[in-house]
Subunit: 253 residues, 2 copies
DNA sequence: GTCTATAGGCGGATAGAC
DNA sequence: GTCTATCCGCCTATAGAC
């Protein structure tokens, strides 16, 4: 039965519990902590861990998550086997199950790192900026993100297209909060006559859509042009065109 | 092994062979014919079929494809079971296998109907039109397509994001041909000074991206606004905003 | 912590009667 | 053409030794 979706929840970047965790869930370097679900925790050696051990553990978890991101983004949750993830991360399948209780826990782990990264460019959109410069820079950052994190962009897309069962709560809280704040910024710019009166939400959708398109629909673009974001010149070309279109529109001035 | 992708090819709308087909592959009403692959055809009763029987067969195949589209678009190829498709189409699993040799053949069948529909709005973009009106109408048609065929839009997205292994050949031929023709039209408009000088390919990408976004990222939009394309007022609002943005841009005139 | 072996179930596909 | 019964491989997850 695949209709039954994961029952695991996604506690990304809610106040970090700061306590020592159950299981080897010691993420380093910006990675999120794992949900400490009630029942059925991992074997868990209870004695204190040396910093060194913690680092080793975190590295291994990160390697697994990296491998998983790459595979999930190409084949989806159900199109990826634990065996593949393990092989790609250079660990044994059994060993992977020592670090993650289930395939879906790996999937959740990958998703939680995702949204955070995905939101970063938007966070940088500030009131103080000149609107036109702000938008221009945002487009540039977003396309650059599509270039440097194509797999993250694609997996995010896959997840949302399929209904975002896991991400939903986060979209309604963290994302909404951020978007609400930024739409106010934009509305302010419009009220000041610095931008044409476009609905801020639809503007944000258009920005997301046009910039992510280069990562998400890369195969289509490659089929049509034989080029893609791996080519620096194409990155600049895409950026220029999107900026031009969004800022000045099609109608000749 | 899920890494090994389907080996079936996608012969959509290449000159219809017009001959009677092997197997019950008698599609009616705009549906495409099935690939007549060399080996291992279906049981196939060889005697002539009455129009009535042909219709019954076509109807059943269509019902299966419809059910499959709906499920594939939500759960992906690997996230959907044949059992689910059969149940949704109100046939038995065994019976489904009478009409389609494998799950992947169903998948291919769904995809072949897809691209054709997906291309229709672009076909309607004509030289004779006034550029601004032409673009405006195209945006409207595309968003309306996102509304009336959300599942098709999403499955197309899913397939392309995952590398378009099956669609690739079609993208490089049928799609490319059409896009090449239309970029010429657009280039002509620009040369005539009727549109601002934007690269026609990037313009098309922006048009696709902004309009499909409303179908593909519907869950995200719903999480943010609590609205979607099912609401007619929202369709109009989205259309207006995208038209405005693409045609006139953000910078105040 | 890491391994070998294996349980256990799901799901795609076929056999063969009717 | 449609059904019942069933096969069998693949894949998640665990047991238990080291």
């Amino acid at each position: 039965m695949t209709a039954a979706r994961p029952t695991v929840s996604l506690p990304l970047r809610t106040a970090r519990p700061a306590a020592s965790r159950a299981a080897p869930a010691a993420d380093a370097a910006g990675a999120r902590a794992e949900p400490s679900r009630g029942e059925a925790s991992r074997p868990e050696p209870l004695r204190a861990k040396t910093p060194h051990r913690l680092r080793r553990i975190a590295e291994k978890r990160t390697a697994i998550l990296d491998a998983a991101l790459s595979l999930f983004s190409r084949n989806g949750l159900h199109g990826t086997t634990v065996e593949q993830i393990a092989r790609t991360a250079a660990v044994s399948k059994t060993n992977l199950f020592y670090y993650f209780a289930s395939k879906e826990e790996v999937y959740v782990g990958v998703l939680s790192r995702l949204l955070d990264q995905w939101l970063d460019p938007l966070r940088a959109l500030e009131v103080e900026t000149d609107p036109v410069e702000g938008i221009r820079a945002y487009i540039s950052r977003k396309i650059r993100f599509s270039r440097t994190h194509p797999e993250a962009s694609r997996l995010f897309c896959l997840e949302v297209v399929q209904g975002a069962p896991l991400l939903r709560p986060e979209l309604e809280t963290a994302l909404k909060q951020l978007v609400d704040a930024k739409t106010e910024v934009i509305a302010g710019w419009i009220a000041a006559g610095k931008l044409a009166p476009v609905d801020p939400h639809h503007l944000i959708f258009a920005l997301w859509a046009t910039t992510q398109h280069y990562a998400d629909f890369a195969p289509q673009i490659d089929a049509l042009l034989g080029r893609g974001l791996d080519e620096e010149a194409f990155v600049e070309e895409a950026t220029r065109n999107v900026q031009r279109l969004i800022l000045d529109g099609l109608r000749p001035r």
